[in-house]
Amino acid sequence: MFSSIRIALILVVLAGAGGAFMYVKNLQANLETARANVAKMEVALATSEQSLALERSETKRLGELNTQLSSDLQRAEQYGDELRATLNKHNLTHLANKKPGLIQQRMQDATNKLWDDLESITAPNNGVLDAQTGTTDTSSN
């Protein structure tokens, strides 16, 4: 009977040791998985940071382009503004009555310049026309 108890105790100890071994093995496997997950998370984090940096630089670039566009669009208004100011400043009817030859020449020059400007701004490899070229001639066309 005494030896039966001893055998039972040995079996219990062996079963406990086996269970502990399995538990540790499972723990080690989980630890490995966790390590792999951490590595993947680090890669994911680095990718996210790269994406965020790219997004920031794109936002900055597009913001700069937008600012440039607003400035260019505003500059394109300059020619018309100058022309309106010139036409308001001078009485073209009076000038045409008094000095038709002079006004004719100025109108002709301004018209020729307008055609040149239109050809220039529609040239495929040319950027937009510098609004500074807007004429202040009294006979601006």
Binding site: T33, T47, D72, Y79, A96, Q104, Q108, L118, V128
Partner: protein, 104 residues
């Protein structure tokens, strides 16, 4: 019993749309236009010169006010063309791949 650690799947997939930049249309080719400014002072001279040059005394007249309006209309068209072109340039720069960005 411990639950097994869940597997994390990381899939990075970057898709960038490539928009080809098409060629711009050819530039406009405009014809010359001769302008005559006529008043009582030079009317007779104008008729004589005009007929000698054009072989006819028929012409299209426009008042000074309408000439001003014509000028303002052309200024509007010019503004529209310029701004349209600037917007196209903006979009072209925006869709350009990064390596082709103009350096400052």
């Amino acid at each position: 019993m411990l639950r097994p650690e869940p597997q994390i799947q990381v899939v990075t997939n970057t898709v960038k749309t490539t928009v080809p930049i098409v060629a711009h249309p050819k530039q406009v080719q405009l014809n010359d236009v001769k302008i005559y400014v006529v008043s009582k002072e030079n009317y007779d001279e104008f008729v004589k010169d005009f007929e000698a040059k054009n072989g006819s005394d028929a012409y299209i007249a426009i008042s000074v006010k309408d000439y001003e309006n014509l000028s303002l209309n052309f200024a509007e068209l010019r503004r529209y063309i310029e701004q349209q072109k600037q917007i196209i340039v903006y979009y072209e720069n925006a869709v350009k791949p990064e390596e082709e960005q103009p350096s400052d």
